[in-house]
């Protein structure tokens, strides 16, 4: 028999655990945006070594499962003498992984702009700095918004993987709660609802941003 009561009772502890889900995905995307911008810049630079570095960065991080990356980072950091809390290792790993996808999103957005956009600026004698900050980037950021929101939603879901390094986020909390209540169906259904709720909010935010920046 499905227990409505257990279902609703599960929300309390799971909401509490959701702060870690939000922390890991929120800080993860923030870190991913910063590193992703640097990797994207490296990939587009004239410097061959930088291009090569960006290409390797992207293919490694896209080619290895996040779960394996998390375990690697978790065991690697102490070996090289860095002792940070598991949550920090998780955020850094998620951020680094996201940076690979985000740099590709930005590379795509920049590449999607017609060449004439920068040519018109160059033709009136604009310097490269202004061509980038005034003409290319404002348009590329707007173009990339839908893909960035999509990436953030993927991160919220991927954050369930950080449970392997002992962080009590929604998925891990629901496993624990299911084990104590013997009501896995109700508990996991509640967990699904929480993920859905977070991601519906993000999708809404994405639509709002797209609407506001539409020209």
């Amino acid at each position: 028999m499905f227990s409505i009561e257990t279902f609703f009772d599960s929300f309390g502890p799971l909401f509490w655990a959701a702060r870690y889900t939000l922390l890991v995905s929120g800080l993860g995307i923030a870190l991913g945006l910063v590193i992703g911008a640097l990797i994207c810049a490296a990939g587009l630079s004239r410097w061959t070594a930088a291009q090569r570095f960006a290409a390797i960065w992207v293919s490694f991080l896209r080619g290895v499962p996040l779960l394996v990356q998390l375990l690697l980072m978790y065991y690697l950091l102490p070996v090289i003498g860095i002792n940070v809390p598991a949550i920090a290792a998780a955020v850094i790993t998620v951020g680094i992984c996201a940076s690979a996808y985000i740099s590709e999103i930005w590379r795509g957005a920049i590449g999607a702009l017609p060449k004439g956009q920068s040519e018109a600026a160059i033709a009136i004698g604009m310097d490269p700095r202004n061509v980038w900050t005034r003409i290319i980037l404002p348009q590329a950021v707007v173009l990339s918004l839908p893909a960035l929101v999509n990436e953030l939603i993927l991160l919220v879901k991927a954050s369930s993987l950080v449970s392997v390094v002992g962080i009590l986020e929604v998925t891990r909390a629901s496993q624990a709660h299911a084990a104590t209540t013997f009501r896995p169906l109700e508990v996991y259904l509640a967990a699904a609802c929480i993920y859905l709720l977070i991601n519906l909010c993000l999708a809404g935010l994405g639509r709002y941003l797209e609407h506001r920046t539409a020209v």
Binding site: Q117, I124, D127, P138
Partner: protein, 258 residues
Amino acid sequence: MVQASSVEIRKVNKFYGPFQALKDIDLSVPPGKVTCLIGPSGSGKSTLLRCINFLEEYDSGEVRIDDQLIGYEVPGGRKMPARKLREMRRSIGMVFQQFNLWPHMTAQENVAEGLIRVRGLPRAEAADRAVEALRKVGLGDKMANHPARLSGGQQQRVAIARAIAMEPQLMLFDEPTSALDPELVGEVLNVMKTLAGEGMTMVVVTHEMGFAAHVADQVAFMEAGELVAVDAPARILHQPEDPRIQGFLRTYHERNAF
């Protein structure tokens, strides 16, 4: 009257890999005159035009604006410093087939942007000059519109305003009416005629033979990367001697006859 530049093109060659896009081009554009470049597509007209402001890098020869070589320090030498090239481009306006307005800015911002970022004018003054330039092309009432809210003809006039606001001494037009619906061509050509009447040096790549016939001081015909002939419009368009020009004009008239 504007301060008008001259353009001297000498023995210009341009290669894309093994393909030669421009073959030993010689062309003189006198100050204050309108030169139309005509010819079939792929003949190198646009490439030649884009060599004049070095958006396209020619491989050998010379392009001089008022005796100043553009792109290279000396003919066949090193590239000129980027800063010097930008300085030369400031006084060369360019209008593109696809308008290339910046969609995230209003008409007024499109025109003011170069004045602020390139000429270093204060915002308020740049805004005033932008309004002035937009009025000149008949768009004083569309200042606050983004490009998406303008017709093709209006967008192209904003693009012309963006160029003339910089007070250029030379204007390059790369098929400015080719992307327009036929009923919108006239408004753009009229603005160009006004500009020509003010003594602007203009180089215009065009398929508008009417414009070439009535506004140009000289017409240059290109085919397969070669400059076949340069002459008065009537001599090229009405009594062409070269069979290549005759063939081109025959095709043109057949397409436009109904």
